[in-house]
């Protein structure tokens, strides 16, 4: 963003601060931890200036300006928290809240789903001062298993439309109509699966009200345990997207993209976002197995299975020598598994009869 690294100055809440050419007032304030409220803002997307919550007072301007779309210029005098601005924000929030069926939603709905609820609390905006008509209608017929299209909660911030276009390049969804008739939808108001949607889940995760929600995670809404997040890496391709695993007690309930993941910067694909049930599938092996005299595999205890496995390698070594034993490691197991596998072959037999699945 900087042009030749030259720093300019403006006054932010009475303090002189530096900025680089091209920075917006919001970016500068954010850097100085000003906690300006936003609803249509996602730092990954082009500023949109729709929700007007990020307004700040700018000396010399007749009305407050949207800080997300206003580029800083040298000498500006900006106030982020004045009484008129805070009042303006509260009124705006009261109007937003008046349009929605509910404000407090289950955090399982999505990464950003708590934004409206938190701001409503912060500004004590649940006053019922306005009797707004509802804009946006639930898409009840879309039976896709991943994305709940609960547009009753839509506030027309366009984050979903913009993330699909700007981040994903898919342009699967768009806004139709104006005012209270505005509706986020796909071509011909159809199903997501008939659009160019790839079910990457990005629209779900950027939605600030839970209007677009993770249907799979919501399966766990009734579980009583607290929601835990654990940082890990997606188990699929080699891009290595960072994810936050969502769990309740011993149950894996969902996946969030990690916004600060260096490989993905908040992005995921349909596999990384939604294909996690294999982990706790009933087909999982839970006991060691050995082949019996009847030719079938039978469950047994670790001691028996380890002895049987070791015995087979010992016998093969005795009968056919150390070049008769081979190890195949995996591109899907952690490095510790692969390291111990190669050490098993090398240290155990002195050979390099070890490979992994990269040739097929």
């Amino acid at each position: 963003m900087s042009s030749n690294g030259i720093q300019h100055q403006l006054i932010l809440d009475g303090e002189e601060v530096n900025f680089s050419a091209g920075e917006t007032l919001y970016e500068i304030a954010e850097r100085h931890r000003k906690e300006i409220p936003t609803l249509c803002y996602d730092p990954r997307l082009e500023p949109f200036g729709a929700c007007r919550l990020c307004v700040v007072e700018l000396e010399g301007a007749r009305n407050p300006v949207a800080s997300c779309t206003t580029k800083a210029t040298a000498g500006m005098v900006v106030k982020t928290q004045s009484e008129p601005v805070e009042k303006y924000r509260k009124t705006l929030l009261e109007m937003v809240v008046s349009e929605n069926r509910e404000v407090e939603v289950d955090p399982l709905r999505g990464y950003a789903s708590q934004e409206l609820g938190k701001l409503t609390d912060r500004y004590q905006a649940r006053t019922g001062r306005f009797k707004g008509a509802q804009s946006g209608q639930l898409h009840a017929t879309d039976d896709n298993p991943f994305i709940f299209r609960d547009y009753d909660l839509c506030i027309s911030c366009n984050r979903c439309v913009r993330v699909c276009a700007e981040q994903e390049g898919d342009h699967a969804i768009a806004a139709m109509g104006r005012g209270f008739h505005k509706q986020i939808t796909t071509e011909f108001n159809g199903l997501l699966k008939d659009s160019s949607c790839t079910f990457c889940g990005q629209c779900v995760q950027t939605c600030p009200t839970g209007a677009l929600a993770d249907k799979k995670a919501l399966r766990a809404a009734e579980l009583p345990e607290p929601l835990q997040k654990t940082r890990s890496v997606c188990p699929y391709c080699g891009v290595g997207c960072s994810v936050d695993l969502l769990s309740k007690g011993e149950k894996l309930v969902g996946i969030h993209p990690a916004m600060d993941g260096p490989a993905n910067e908040g992005a995921l694909c349909v596999k990384g976002q939604f294909a996690f049930d294999f982990v706790q599938h009933t087909d999982r092996l839970s006991m060691p197995m050995v082949r019996g005299d009847d030719g079938e595999l039978h469950e047994t205890d670790w001691d028996t299975a380890l002895d049987r496995a070791a015995d087979g390698f010992a016998k093969t070594l005795k009968k056919h020598g150390r070049h008769s034993i081979y190890g195949i490691a995996s591109g899907r197991t952690p490095s510790e598994a692969n390291y111990t596998m190669q050490q098993f072959i090398r240290r155990g037999y002195g050979t390099h009869y070890i490979d992994n699945c990269s040739r097929a």
Binding site: C237, Q280, L285, R291, D301, R332
Partner: protein, 534 residues
């Protein structure tokens, strides 16, 4: 990758060859889409009209297996039109003269007869890549899964060396790796040629180092690859330990694989499911999975990242490393007294030159891309900035070769195989995740609509697909993604075991199978057969 993922929106010219990135590496592809929006130009070479092809400025629908011819001709045009980087060649490469001379015979007209792409389009692509200041090459298995996979990669290296597109931001040779830790598997030495950290097993110094470490004599020559080992099952190989690989379904020539594993005296499999491969084992150990294990994995840009446990494994399932260590201890092997994944990773760092500057705690925030050769080293996002691993870059005198099998009267159609967005490998994971079937519930064979008619097939009905090794039945899907005369399917669905057909040949250096080229015959089923198939 020579360059980081974050570089992908920085090139002036992007050259994608043999990569269906929007389906196989979708998150990386979003960066390419951003680069295009910013004004970058893109060349795509792929036999199929994949989504990347639709976005390309120059699309080269090359015949399967003809990559070397295309790349030689592109190099020819670059040199002919003096678009090569004289200073880079002078300062950073060796034996360029020989290579420049070698190129003279490989005209676009010559390449056109092999690739079936118009010479004018080859010229256009060459000039675009040659003229860009920052040109980046991205490839996947469409380059490596050929009998000439090494030649293909070397041809790409030749192009990058010729144009100085290495060692700078927004350039490079960038293979996109297919599995979340396939890079790590090689890094830590699970390959027949290297000890951990790419220390060559046939280098006397490495041999001495590991003999001292292990307290035993080590072989001084390379081991054999998995492909060779499978060929030798029952004659020289009699016992195998397989961890987390469904060899029977994922590898070429399924019948051969099944025969190989069933000729062993002893097969031990560690996995999370009773896969087709595990079903053949004498002993099966239950492993903990993603979300149940602490550990480390390395992505395609060499970034070393931590996996963390969120939930307990089922029943008595255990981490892979624990199982292997228990087995080693019962066999009396020394050096397996680890208590945690952390112990193991830290030992790996202490003996691996590319990880020396790392340890378990240091990689907590995923900040490092190897090599990090000493403590305090910041890691290496861009390789080859000042020097290549062996000093100077070497041009390779590559020549075009036909695939192992070419189309004939008996097998007149090219089959190429690959992956789809919604399915991962043999579907042991995606097939067991709710909802995925809504998007992709069965396999199909993608055929050009005119071929569907010409071959007497019906869209959505079953057909028989046969190669010299066997046949499978699969549903027809008419689509313009396939060119005339070439069909596509994936190997993900066990009920369409397409790897029964593949396995015509292997790269002589890497033993990688030619999964991308297999001559086949496509026939309609007669009425009673199609009723049974449906």
């Amino acid at each position: 990758m020579s360059n980081p993922l974050s570089d992908m929106d920085k090139p002036d010219v992007i050259f994608c060859i043999g990569t269906n990135m929007t389906e196989c590496h979708p998150v990386a592809a979003t960066r390419i889409k951003k680069a295009l929006k910013r004004g970058a130009k893109m060349i795509v070479a792929d036999p199929r009209k994949i989504q990347l092809a639709e976005m390309a400025d120059v699309y080269l629908p090359i015949r399967v297996g003809s990559d070397v011819a295309l790349l030689l001709a592109m190099a020819h045009v670059i040199v002919r039109d003096d678009l090569h980087d004289h200073a880079f060649i002078e300062e950073r490469t060796l034996d360029a003269d020989q290579f420049l001379e070698h190129l003279s015979e490989f005209t676009p007209e010559w390449a056109s007869t092999i690739t079936e792409v118009p010479a004018a389009d080859i010229e256009k692509a060459a000039k675009l890549y040659g003229a860009g200041d920052k040109g980046a090459i991205y490839y996947t298995l469409g380059i490596t899964e050929h009998i000439c996979g090494v030649d293909n990669v070397q041809s790409l290296c030749n192009l990058a060396l010729l144009t100085g597109n290495l060692g700078r931001e927004g350039t490079g040779i960038n293979p996109m790796r297919g599995q979340n830790n396939i890079q790590g598997a090689g890094d830590v030495g699970a390959i027949p040629s290297n000890y951990p950290g790419f220390q060559k097993v046939d280098d006397p110094e490495s041999k001495a180092k590991f003999e001292a470490l292990y307290g035993r004599e080590m072989d001084g020559e390379r081991g054999i690859t998995k492909v060779k080992a499978l060929n030798l099952c029952g004659s020289e190989i009699f016992a195998m330990l397989i961890d987390g690989e469904n060899t029977v379904v994922s590898d070429p020539d399924r019948k051969h694989c099944e025969h190989a594993l069933s000729s062993l005296d002893h097969l031990v499999v560690i996995d999370i499911f009773l896969t087709e491969t595990a079903q053949m084992a004498d002993v099966v150990f239950p492993a903990s999975a993603f979300a149940e294990t602490d550990g480390v994995c390395t992505n395609t840009e060499r970034r070393v990242q931590r996996l963390r446990q969120a939930v307990p494994p089922p029943g008595e399932a255990k981490p892979d490393w624990w199982i292997i260590c228990q087995l080693a201890k019962r066999l009396g092997f020394e050096g397996f007294e680890y208590e945690s994944a952390k112990d193991i990773f830290n030992e790996l760092c202490s003996i691996s030159p590319i990880y020396t500057g790392l340890d378990w705690d240091r990689i907590d925030k995923s900040e490092y891309q190897w090599p990090a050769p000493e403590e305090g080293h910041p890691g290496t996002p861009i390789l080859h900035e000042n020097e290549f691993t062996n000093g100077r870059g070497l041009f390779k005198l590559v020549r075009y070769r036909d695939p192992a099998e070419t189309i004939s009267e008996a097998f007149p159609v090219w089959l190429t195989t690959g992956r789809r967005l919604q399915a991962y490998h043999t579907r042991t994971q995606t097939g067991r995740s709710a909802g995925i079937d809504y998007l992709l519930s069965e396999e199909s064979l993608e055929i050009h609509p005119e071929d569907v008619d010409a071959w007497g097939l019906q869209d959505r009905e079953f057909c028989r697909l046969s190669s010299a090794r066997g046949s499978v039945e699969v549903r027809v899907r008419a689509t313009n993604r396939s060119p005339r005369g070439t069909v596509f399917t994936s190997f993900s669905f066990n009920d369409v075991p397409v790897n029964i057909l593949t396995g015509s040949g292997y790269d002589p250096i890497t033993d990688t199978a030619e999964l991308k080229v297999c001559p086949v015959r496509v026939e309609a089923l007669d009425k009673s057969e199609s009723d049974a198939a449906g």
